[in-house]
Symmetry: C2
Subunit: 243 residues, 2 copies
Amino acid sequence: MKRILLKISYDGTEYHGWQTQPNSVTVQQVLQDGLQKVIKERPNVTGCSRTDSGVHAREFYCHFDCPDNIPNKAFLMGLNSVLPDDIAVTACETVENDFHARYNAKGKNYIYRMYFGVRDPFLSRYALYLENKPDIVRMNEYCTTLLGKHDFIGFSSSGRTVEDTVRTITYCEVKSVDNTIEFSVSANGFLYNMVRILAGTALEVGRGRLALDCANTIFETGDRSKAGPTLAPNGLFLNKVYY
Amino acid sequence: MKRILLKISYDGTEYHGWQTQPNSVTVQQVLQDGLQKVIKERPNVTGCSRTDSGVHAREFYCHFDCPDNIPNKAFLMGLNSVLPDDIAVTACETVENDFHARYNAKGKNYIYRMYFGVRDPFLSRYALYLENKPDIVRMNEYCTTLLGKHDFIGFSSSGRTVEDTVRTITYCEVKSVDNTIEFSVSANGFLYNMVRILAGTALEVGRGRLALDCANTIFETGDRSKAGPTLAPNGLFLNKVYY
């Protein structure tokens, strides 16, 4: 047996996230269906993260084990020929047998996209629409207050329980080009809905509805209600995974 | 009564083209449904062209008549608030009562998009995937042979009948940036499937499967079978309409 690491990319609009669930179509399930067609086996595929329903991935990694005699090109050429257009395998390599797509990930970068001004149907699928441009300078001042090691429980939803809610943000910045805005954040890990709440809080700061130092209050109190809204999934992209 | 000219944009993936048809969802129908919600009337909306099933429009114009007392902002703000995300109204103005979105159009520009190399789910919805890069210089040599006034019957599908199949192409060029290719063509009018066949022929020339001067043979013989394939609708965009 050998362990294969696949690098994939997907438009998450039509999927109920990565993880297989009863009665809904997920990326993991469609990928496993594809493997079954190509290699006549159905290995369990382990992803680097669970993305939520409607969230996209420019770069997502997953691993599985398969017999040594199956050539790796089966997973690139072969799998792409049977997958739907909204999921693509972009690279494939053999890794050590103890490599784990999730546990070996040292950090991840997510991007939350927004756009403003004239509505554009080619952006609306991949970015949150705003009527007006928020204050990018204010948003970036807020971003700097997120950097470092903090308890992010106030920036998470209660849907999934983890014991340790402390994470370290290593990069956080807002960039605006033309009529688009990208909130980009890197950390060693993320809590449930954390990026969408961090971005929703950034937006409220940019609109002047929350204070520049609101993150400090949220860190101190752990109070979810003091943060901004959980933004819609269509603007969120898992952008990079660091190993 | 006043005549309103709407400028709209749409992602055509989910629609059976512009024109209302029984038992299928079209852009015209969704737009008329939206108008009914906003102004409580259902004017007949006339489009600048019929786009086919799955074809996109970056810029599409349509006109309709409505009572003078309805403010134009109802068609911009109001209509956008009820339309799905894949159709957007981008501008609205009152025009002369004899203005006609189709008959007044002096010409149109269409773009057919392709991409090559690593598969990208964010491009696949809006561009034809090619495994290899075709020869762009050859494609452009072919494009110059299309310029001017010709009988384009050999570059059209037989689905719709028009008497006059002579059209004048005023611009035709292929541009390639990074891993994308855009075939762009402007003319005073287009026959059924004409752009998709012109682009399909360009692709076959770029792959070396058709001769550089194949268009001359197709003009002379009017033989559809000598042209390239009708490419898939997802790569086609109505890009500009000239009045």
